[in-house]
Symmetry: C2
Subunit: 357 residues, 2 copies
């Protein structure tokens, strides 16, 4: 039976970059069924909600979800429940996408694009594994109330709950150790166990699960130190595993260190390896509609999808090789352009990947 | 009446770097009374608690506190309440030190020490203002319990509470706008208002307080984006104001961007400008006792103390000028050394500053 892919382009540059990823998937001629639906601000405008029921139903029915990007300043004034980013939070929650794989790699052809000195990033290859359905993102209770204690009792306060249960930590820990085995067998678990109860449990569980992976090295690092070590010596890391909030911050920091966030895909998986695949960058409303956005992160996200959710590793290899080929041909979108290379637009880049397949 | 300074050297390199700062203060001959007390692991070993009552009482009685550093791997197995870092959390809480000023500056002589390309950090001068007595650091309830809902009801979970009250946010917001007026009049407030209730209140209050400072520019940025923009274009920032948890992460990231965290002082103030002053770096147990640590961040922290808590701005200027002078003489401790400079130890560096006064 042919596989169904939910295609959710979203806002900003989302539709442009998604068009190129779809072009590549179609060129592969794998018999995939691609079905599109609106999401984010686009869905709010069309149907009054960032994650319409039909869109969620499609994502649930599909074998995998390919996601562009959501968000735009113009929705900042909406109440939180209607803002574009609720779509992505809703998809994660309803699809149970607890494991976010965010590779941060520095392509040899693009080392110069990094803010960091080339010797610090050449060959960089970190895998950040971020827990995606727990932590302070979804913890309850949360809201506003009158403070009953603290520094200013009787005044208005807002509050959120950070929380992790033991099995939530266990399942992401297993994935981290298993991923490390396919790489350099080193896991750095990041927490703030010197301050947070949640982090202390996180650390305890990581240590326990580690007992089943004696061949993998496990270190613990506080999040503030991790933010520093990523800048100082990013190549010292192999796999980083951390909670939802710290993972949000560190995975973006690490992506930016490579200098080519426009190249970085991500996968968010459920416990059956069904997943949502999206570029690591955002919707970039400032350049939307100009045909200059880099579609490669989305194309590489499609490759991850072929490999992890659709069982088509050969097709994934072909896409990744084609991306390498266009880089080696010297084609660059504006975000990764440097002197001596040929500057191309979004569609040209997609066409070049198709030709290189 | 002569001013009393509580001198708390702490662990690791703390005693070594503090000795140099004390040397400098004594050389200034300001009639200060310097009284020392143990803190952190050292205090735990001597008196069974990281923040003994006598140490806290001294800090409360003093006009200012000069703090070295605390912590060592060897205390990792202690229960949390006895670990060295509880001393610093306890001092912040009991002294009401809600405003942490963390400058991230790149000295012209040390631009090369940064991981970043020189043009990205030359002339860097960011002030990070971190709220220090609220947020998830001190919020209750916190602990472990059996989950009653969530993904795995009935299993063990750990939880913490993030919270901010309106007046807590107001007072740090005022300080941010006032600090910005003495600089480039730009404030970037960092939060995660797309996810957290606490952040939404933070953002609302920042906007309200901003009404009283129409001459200052205010922007809001999500913490994940801030972690990226610090890497991409750190010089775009002037003043960053943020909560305790995000400030912990971003101030360390920014410090490391300069490449010379061994040079960066910090001040933590209460509402009467009484403060605790400490280097931005940690206790570095790996190099403790070797006489190689950089004492300049502690010496510069003493200068901040002279200026902000002791009303001695001229003495502060003298210390800062002396530090500039030793850098221009080419003296460097190992952490900031580069070819062509003279490598000196901790005590030599302190002596050189004294000579340059
Ligand atoms: C849009 C936002 C809610 C989201 C997050 O914080 O998880 C984004 O930053 C991400 O990392 O995918
Ligand atoms: C030691 C630790 C509790 C502390 C903090 O998180 O505040 C430290 O990292 C700091 O920034 O001063």
């Amino acid at each position: 039976m042919s596989k169904l892919v939910a295609v959710l382009p979203g806002d900003g540059i989302g539709p442009e970059i998604m068009a190129e990823a779809v072009k590549v998937l179609q060129a592969l001629d794998l018999g995939l069924v691609l079905e599109s639906a609106p999401v984010g601000g686009a869905a709010y405008e069309a149907q009054g909600h960032p994650l319409p029921e039909a869109t969620l139903a499609l994502a649930q029915r599909a074998d995998a979800v390919l996601f562009g990007a959501v968000g735009d300043w113009k929705y900042d004034k909406l109440e939180r429940a209607l803002r574009p980013e609720q779509a992505i939070l809703g998809l994660r929650k309803h699809l149970g996408l607890f494991a976010n794989f965010r590779p941060a790699l520095c392509y040899p052809q693009l080392t110069h694009a990094s803010s960091l000195k080339p010797e610090l990033v050449a060959g960089l290859d970190i895998l950040i594994l971020r827990e995606l359905t727990g932590d302070i993102y979804f913890g309850t209770p949360r809201g506003r109330r009158t403070a009953s204690d603290g520094h200013f009792p009787g005044t208005e306060e807002a509050f959120d709950t950070m929380r992790y249960s033991r099995p939530e930590i266990e399942r992401i820990a297993h994935l981290a150790f298993q991923a490390a085995r396919k790489r350099q067998s080193r896991v750095t678990s990041v927490d703030k166990a010197n301050v947070l109860e949640t982090s202390q449990l996180w650390r305890d569980v990581l240590n326990q699960v580690h007992g089943q992976y004696p061949d993998v090295q496990l270190d613990h690092m506080y999040v503030d130190n991790a933010a520093m070590q990523l800048v100082k010596a990013p190549k010292a890391f192999d796999v980083i595993v951390t909670g939802n909030l710290f993972g949000d911050i560190l995975s973006d920091e690490a992506a930016m260190l490579t200098g080519s966030i426009g190249m970085l895909p991500s996968a968010s998986l459920d416990r059956h390896n069904k997943g949502l695949y999206e570029p690591s960058h955002g919707s970039a409303p400032d350049i939307a509609g100009q045909g200059v956005a880099n579609p490669l992160a989305t194309i590489l996200s499609a490759a991850m999808m072929l490999r992890y959710s659709l069982g088509l590793p050969n097709a994934a290899d072909r896409v990744e090789a084609a991306v390498q080929a266009v880089l080696s041909q010297g084609l660059r979108t504006g975000d990764i352009w440097s002197a001596g290379c040929e500057r191309v637009g979004t569609a040209d880049m997609g066409d070049a990947v198709v030709r290189a397949l």
